[in-house]
């Protein structure tokens, strides 16, 4: 028992009639009340996070379809759903797309985010105001961003192609050509993710003591040199957190792709989460959908472990 706990219980027993010391230890009213503070949240987490994870595992081993909702029967089929997933001709394309979408988004968000964070670190009039206004794309509902970008990227009359047209560039079929749709979706997702990267990286930059730069300047480390030898090494823990968290958030993106392309054209923007959604809620093959989402969970889990390690390092340093 810690010092504070001792004093708290002492204060409590001063107020109430002191019950026998032993019984008070575990099941006193005080301790029960303490547990009641966390009970609703614990129950909620179990029901709305724990149960779905378990249910997805069992579902993925069952033939779980629309019929199940009428008859209540979901026969066990072993790994048949996983076989269906692995042998489906959309599996490898969606794996590749998930990887390209994630890597492309993260690279773009991070590089632009870091550049902007470094820029805003120089204090100038309005810098704080401008930086906080930059958060807007992140706060908008994703489906709103999708709708807006769809109008901007429209092939015939969208403003982007009109703008490119003034340089003599032919209209690009951003969302209707399988060759460029994934690139367009990545570009939009970069735009959505920049504010988050700026915010976290800016926070990290603020924590680097000015003395380091002053000492570096004496040794001739300014500008790019200072960035390479002072900023980057000191920012490393924050960078790893941003990157891993970025992967975990990007890998499950659904809204943006559904809003922009619905997984099309010609399945060019199918990702694991789109597959999972479409198998479950378009084809009503919940077993197959669950198998897809379990693969998604597995990948997220790997990065979650990396995140926790990176985060621990960030806290330690």
């Amino acid at each position: 028992m810690t010092q504070t706990e001792l004093t708290t219980t002492a204060a409590a027993s001063a107020a109430e009639a002191p019950p026998p010391v032993r019984a008070r230890r575990r099941f006193s009213r005080e301790n029960v009340t303490r547990l009641l503070f966390v009970a609703p949240a614990a129950l909620y987490l179990v029901l709305f996070f724990g149960y779905p994870v378990v249910k997805n595992i069992t579902m993925s081993l069952q033939d779980y379809t629309t019929k199940t909702f009428f008859t209540g029967e979901a026969p066990w089929v072993g790994f048949a759903n996983y076989q269906a997933v692995l042998s489906s001709n959309l599996f490898w394309p969606s794996m590749t797309n998930t990887a390209l979408f994630t890597i492309g988004s993260i690279a773009g968000q991070f590089i632009i985010g870091l550049a902007l964070a470094c820029f805003f670190k120089r204090r100038f009039p309005l810098s704080n105001f401008l930086r906080s206004m930059l958060l807007l794309p992140w706060l908008l509902p994703l489906i709103v961003s999708s709708a807006t970008w769809r109008s901007i990227l429209e092939q015939d009359s969208g403003i982007l192609n009109q703008f490119l047209g003034t340089f003599g560039i032919e209209p690009v079929p951003w969302l209707t050509s399988p060759a460029v749709a994934l690139i367009a979706v990545v570009l939009v997702n970069i735009w959505v993710g920049i504010p988050f990267n700026v915010t976290i990286l800016y926070g990290g930059l603020q924590d680097i003591p000015d003395e380091l730069y002053e000492a570096g300047a004496l040794d001739g480390a300014t500008g790019w040199k200072a960035f390479r030898h002072i900023t980057l090494p000191n920012l490393k823990p924050v960078i790893s957190v941003v990157l891993v968290l970025g992967v975990v958030y990007t890998i499950k993106v659904l809204d943006i792709i559904l809003g922009l392309t619905n997984g099309g054209p010609a399945n060019a923007t199918q990702t694991l989460s789109i597959r999972s959604y479409q198998e479950s809620f378009i084809n009503f093959e919940f077993g197959v959908g669950a198998a897809f989402s379990n693969i998604l969970i597995l990948i997220s889990l790997v990065f979650a472990v990396i995140y926790l390690r990176a985060n621990r390092r960030a806290v330690d340093e």
Binding site: T33, R34, V38, A41, N56, F124, S132, I200, G289
Partner: protein, 287 residues
């Protein structure tokens, strides 16, 4: 450079200050340029919503002859959905704070032996893809009769909010000095009384931050709106926009007007509650 400055600042320093000032003005200009590029889509959304011709996208760069037809149509078609979104979001705020605030306090101050394990579980829960939750909830809600219901959506949307609220409020509450609560306990207040009448008022700012974000998360929710509603009785506005986008878009000004209306909470919060938004943006992620 004003005369007042010239009188106060010695000459060599004055030249430096002048240089410094042009330089920082340059930075400000550059910053405004960056912001303008980043926020151009938002401008374009507003601009497109005010264009008179609904059917094509041919929009002039400035809404010189603003037309509110898009808004009239948006409100007529999406008005009820906006109200649904509002009710669901407010419900999510209340529910999330009720569940998460006491837990945050307990995890910050009660020194349970398993605090770190609980925090780990909360962090991991934030990483679980929404589609996993939707898959399982659809089946469960179907049995429980919670599909197409506002309580069903509130409970589901709270998955976006509760882990975040616990983490961000705990980060704040860990700094509350124990002596304040102890003083009340000596005066005879129980744990619950001390929490309600002392801890919560002190934590006002973090409650507001948490509440604002819970609102935004729920208001922005698309996945649960898409999967847990099947009729148009209960239909959040995010799903309304998606359905506009579903087939060939026939009326862009109405779509964009709905988009603008759906952006109002985010825009209003960013302007009116900047302090709280900034606190939430940094607090939730790395702590």
């Amino acid at each position: 450079m004003t005369t007042v400055d010239a009188a106060v600042v010695p000459v060599p320093a004055q030249r430096n200050a002048g240089k410094e000032r042009t330089r920082s003005a340059g930075y400000t200009a550059l910053g405004i340029l960056f912001l303008a590029v980043m926020l151009f889509p938002v401008y374009w959304m507003v601009n497109a919503s005010l264009q008179p011709s609904g059917n094509t996208l041919t929009a002039s760069f400035f809404p010189l002859n603003p037309s509110f037809d898009g808004y009239a149509r948006a409100i007529a078609e999406q008005g009820p959905n906006l109200v649904t979104s509002l009710i669901v979001s407010l419900g999510t705020v209340v529910f999330s704070l009720l569940v998460a605030a006491p837990a945050a306090y307990a995890l910050a101050q009660f020194r349970f032996r398993w605090v770190n394990i609980a925090l780990l579980a909360i962090l991991i829960s934030q990483m679980i893809p929404g589609i996993v939750i939707a898959n399982a909830l659809y089946a469960a809600y179907n049995d429980l009769g919670l599909l197409n219901s506002i309580p069903g959506l509130i409970l589901a949307d709270a998955t976006h909010a509760i882990p975040f609220v616990i983490l961000i409020m705990r980060a704040f509450m860990i700094g509350i000095p124990t002596s304040i609560v102890e003083a009340a306990r000596v005066d005879g207040a129980g744990l619950v009384r001390a929490f309600v009448s002392i801890v919560l008022p002190i934590s006002r700012n973090s409650l507001i931050t948490a509440g604002l974000f819970a609102f935004l998360f729920s208001w922005s929710d698309f996945l649960f709106a898409l999967t847990l509603t099947t009729t148009d009785e209960v239909r959040p506005v995010t799903l309304g926009i998606y359905q506009y986008l579903g087939t060939q878009v026939s009326n862009w000004s109405a779509v964009m007007a709905t988009a603008v209306l759906s952006s109002l909470p985010a825009i209003a919060l960013l302007i009116l509650a900047q302090k709280y938004v900034a606190a939430g943006a940094t607090g939730g992620a790395v702590k």
